[in-house]
Symmetry: none
Subunit: 226 residues, 2 copies
DNA sequence: CTGATATTTCATAGTTTTTTCATAAATGCC
DNA sequence: GGCATTTATGAAAAAACTATGAAATATCAG
């Protein structure tokens, strides 16, 4: 798995080093910038920065302005660092779309904890919003599915089932497991009902339906390649 | 396959039962403790607990202290349960090395989902659930086998049998032993059925099929070198 | 309540796997 | 080598499982 990139922006190199050391210990990939200009440069150059830790007081372009500019094009989580615990600053930060706000001096461990919490939250959201695989795109919020750009109407159960399949791509799923996750745990009906739903799903997915493979004597598996 | 052990620690037996029921339905092996002391006892006694679900508010030793003590010697994933969604608690939790934090009341399905996510993450780090030997790679999760990079389709029994062979590389296996492990213990069919499966396996494995050696008057052995 | 839709159950047909069995080949022993 | 025993092989029977269509039941909006 690729390591997660974090951009640390602060004009004090001591501070950058401190943060970097702790983040690297947690297996993050750390990029550094010494002022706002450098930060924006780096942010636009690197394509997959997962989170930005941003000092406010910096030469050239300050933290607020960096934040504002980034927010025009991106939702990348931002943690603001500030020397004084000024309530006004904090308020302004949240308005700008800052995700967290940490007052200096801070414990590096708390910083790392917040970084992880935010990334977890962010990935959870992404996970909950959309899932896609080989021409199938699911928008969970909108309860909407497209296959090769064509919209497909799925019933509730079908949607849940497909969602479960896509979340567990490449993993063989027993009927029991599917039943426990897609149906309620207290469902004691016939496991054969899954077959029926799989049949319908395969139909509605057209040629992409073949992604749902039967594993004989076991269950099903969703797999794009192979 | 051995079931994965989860330790559930809560002073309310109702809560324990709830969690236990759901985990057991997902084929986990569940151990219970009613307070922190009991939890630590159990944790040190049992050798292979894969994950701990820990309530904070408990008599004798509270959840934080249990967590702290466990973290001194072990990285076993810990999920914290708490009655109130207090941010400070959460922060403290992450500092202590808590992996997840779930606020009561919670949906058992979410709990189970998190348990699985964490274990998946953990096991991914340790090792992909793969067995391999001399060009044969088995991915148990995906129920998938490749021989020299080429994908090979195995039936359920064939898969189980090969899996058993590879797990016991270099060990001579009597037909009885194979029957007891790959088939059920209460199987009373002909032991010659193994021969047929071995034949098919050898065919499907191509030149690698010769790894399955016949031990005359005894059974079979899987061996790469020799 | 009614009609439309979704979900579940069920019977059956169609597949695939597993087992059995007969025979051929191989092995160990005298 | 010859004999008894064990294993390999191919084919066929038996068993297990899945796909499918249709009917029954549940759900829900109006």
């Amino acid at each position: 798995m690729d390591r997660v990139k974090v951009l640390v922006v602060d004009d004090e190199s001591r501070m950058r080093k401190l943060v970097r050391d702790f983040l690297m210990r947690d297996n993050f990939d750390v990029l550094e910038a010494g002022d706002g200009e450098e930060a924006l440069d780096l942010f636009y150059r690197e394509k997959d920065i997962a989170l930005i830790i941003l000092d406010i007081m910096m030469p050239k372009i300050n933290g607020w302005d960096v934040c504002r500019e980034i927010r025009e094009t991106s939702k990348t989580p931002i943690i603001m660092l500030t020397a004084k615990g000024d309530e006004n600053d904090e308020l302004q930060g949240f308005e700008l779309g800052v995700d967290e706000y940490i007052a200096k001096p801070f414990s590096p461990r708390i910083l790392v904890a917040r970084v992880e919490a935010i990334l977890r939250r962010a990935s959870h959201m992404a996970e909950e919003e959309c899932a896609q695989a080989g021409g199938i795109v699911m928008d969970k919020a909108a309860h909407l599915v497209t296959v090769d750009g064509e919209r497909v109407e799925l019933s509730y159960k079908e949607f849940e089932l497909l969602s479960y399949f896509i979340e567990n791509q490449g993993i063989a799923l027993s009927r029991e497991k599917i039943l426990n996750h897609v149906w309620n745990y207290d469902y004691f009906g016939d496991a054969r009902t899954i077959d029926t739903h799989v049949k319908k799903l395969r139909n509605k997915l057209g040629k992409r339906g073949s992604y749902i493979r039967t594993i004989w004597g076991m269950g099903y598996k969703f797999e794009v390649n192979g």
